[in-house]
Subunit: 415 residues, 2 copies
């Protein structure tokens, strides 16, 4: 993900290559080929990648030594000699993602093939604005996760923490309104709390990680231009453009919740008027759909879940007021999505978080609004879909981020 | 610019490399090093790129054979032996960009070092909505340009046409409201009109090309995250994110002029209400600053220039009404820029087109509005600046697009 540090990167063009680079590149190519196509033979890999057979054999031996690949026996399901088939191994490894949000902590661990090893969630009250306490809770969860994985004989290749807020390139959280944080160096504090663990530790915006998970593990596997919208206490956008995460110059891209929809609109938590969040955030949805609930009072995030469940129940029962409320909410969401679509033209916008469960009632009006407001015909090809991942998308994305680093050539060394 | 076509590109990760690829990559690396650092010696190149000296010598010989590089004599301005210095040659080559707009046609040719070989502009009335006539005019300009360059002994390496509208990946203009075009296959028609010329011909959105020019030739040289705003009959955004042009799934990204600022705002040419263009487009600026001019009548693009000159003259004379009008225009522009900045967090937004001349009076209020509406402190680092290029930015960008292809390794073959 990092930008090249060479003096030659001005246009992100070709970088100097030498034979060591070629080997590292090709190791990663074979690994990624196996991720997509396993089981397959050495000859299959050679045929598809264009690498010669001797090179493939040598690369596969290296990957077997690193315990990233293993042989699974012979196949005869082809013309010619039976061939030894290869699959991803990775049994000694795990990639970990944690998510902190205003009402919960989540941990997800994946193996190298993206299969889930564990998925934990615990209630957490992060709204007190005490970063120290939150760091301690994150560190405890990280230790427990790593300990469980170690007990199962797995080595942790990296850990990424998802935070709902603006995160700069060094892992400093500039602002996380839902957590009451400003300028918290999460990465440094967590490294200290964990006593400098041996694995790489990163901190990243939750929407950025969720969109990585959606691309690798979700239904949008293979889409190069997509957006994930977190539907939580705040609404963030994770943007992948042309197969790469769009972070922006300081890492602050994807601030979607405060898109201004109407200068005469309702007051938002940020103090401005008419932000998208004030129309389509969780609080606004609850106030609109369940007017008897806390219309005058601020809701705490721990109260969101039961209310959203109630809204879903009423929608399924065709409650006319709730259906109208969701249609209206979807239209506001579609208004915001149209702005995003006109500016960056994604193939797909994935509704996540609390939106996931309500998506069947939100998407029709959102899609209508998107079509009406798109400069290009046919909404410029942008479709709105529901996340296929559960609410652990951001934590799964944290683990995905670790796998992405490995797929980019940062292979674990043999031990 | 194209996406990799390999089956392995799912995550845009490493591609298979073989020794031929290594050589092509390294040729491009040396060429790009020379573009930035020339004059320099073979030893300098080896030291900076990490390539070994024998490899550099062989690569340089190849580049000299292709007449992309030449030797310029010895230097003794260093410790040790005098070294032969190298510079970009490219004297037998030219890259061409054309721009079509509602009131003019432009041609720019650059040599390989980005120096301007010619810059032509002619009045043109493209508003008649007759694409055939416009294609004929473009073809005539292309022929005249290529003929002039051939006469000077240069071979055209490629030609790119800039169009103010939505352009898909195949060079089909989906929509160009200012020209009255819908679904015009400009690339195919122009190839036919030119009798299948021997050079690559591309069609691209004008803002996309202008931002390439700004990054390579303008003051933003080296910035990886920037946006260029065309200020013409329409307002488009060209977006470079992490050193790459952001096109979107169908190539329709950067539709900036129709950002909805206020649902109760003035009616826009697109039929919607409150679009940015209805507040800050050229027509709106003229109506606001020169209320006696055509406030009730639609202006034709050919009338814009003199009115904009008059506004600039009055602003320089501190005319209070015009200064207020420009302050208000800048605030609307800043409102739109804030939306862009919150979503994609560029380091820099460059005002181009007609905005360039008025920028001193637009930028202060635009920057205030950007700061007030940014989620991140300090506007997320985004600054608003004036284009250092003249109004031929998009055509220069067309030629830049050709140079980018060469820098990415599509080197001309020796003849």
């Amino acid at each position: 993900m990092g930008r090249g540090s060479s003096v030659l990167t001005r246009e992100n063009g070709p970088q100097p290559a030498d034979f060591a680079d070629v080997r590292a590149t090709n190791l990663a190519v074979v690994l990624r080929h196996l991720r997509t196509h396993a089981p397959c033979s050495r000859a299959d890999i050679a045929a598809t990648t264009g690498l010669n057979k001797a090179t493939v054999s040598s690369l596969v031996t290296d990957l077997i030594d690193r315990r990233l690949v293993r042989e699974v026996g012979m196949t005869e399901n082809r013309i010619g000699r039976p061939a030894v088939m290869l699959v991803l191994d990775g049994s000694p490894y795990a990639a970990v993602g944690l998510e902190i949000n205003s009402d919960y902590l989540t941990a997800v661990a994946l193996d190298l093939a993206g299969e889930r090893l564990l998925s934990w969630r615990r209630a957490f009250s992060g709204t007190a604005g005490q970063p120290g306490q939150a760091i301690a809770a994150l560190a405890a969860l990280a230790r427990r996760t790593v300990s469980k994985l170690s007990h199962d004989g797995r080595r942790v290749l990296g850990l990424t923490v998802a935070v709902p807020g603006l995160v700069d390139a060094d892992g400093v959280v500039e602002l996380a309104a839902g957590l009451g944080w400003q300028r918290v160096d999460v990465r440094k504090s967590l490294l200290a709390a964990l006593g400098e663990p041996g694995y790489p530790l990163l901190v990243e915006n939750d929407a950025n990680l969720a969109v990585l998970a959606e691309q690798r593990l979700g239904a949008q596997n293979g889409t190069g231009d997509l957006v994930y919208l977190t539907g939580g206490a705040s609404i963030g956008a994770g943007i992948i453009s042309d197969f790469r995460l769009l972070r922006g110059a300081r890492g602050f891209a994807g601030e979607f919740g405060h898109l201004p929809l109407d200068p005469a609109g309702p007051v938002c938590g940020c103090g401005r008027r008419g932000c998208l969040e004030a129309y389509a955030g969780v609080g606004a949805v609850i106030r609109r759909a369940l007017p008897d609930v806390g219309i005058e009072t601020a809701l705490s995030p721990s109260e969101f879940g039961p209310h959203m469940d109630e809204i879903q129940r009423l929608a399924k029962a065709d409650d006319a007021h709730v259906l109208d409320a969701l249609t209206e909410t979807g239209a506001h969401l579609g208004h915001g999505i149209a702005i995003l679509a006109n500016l960056i033209n994604p193939a797909c916008v994935v509704l996540g978080g609390y939106f996931t469960d309500l998506a069947p009632w939100l998407i029709p009006s959102a899609a209508r609004e998107l079509a009406a407001r798109s400069a290009a015909a046919d909404s410029g090809g942008t479709v709105i879909v529901t996340s296929a991942l559960d609410s652990s998308a951001a934590a799964a994305g944290g683990a995905t981020r670790v796998l992405d680093a490995i797929d980019s050539g940062a292979l674990p060394t043999p031990r």
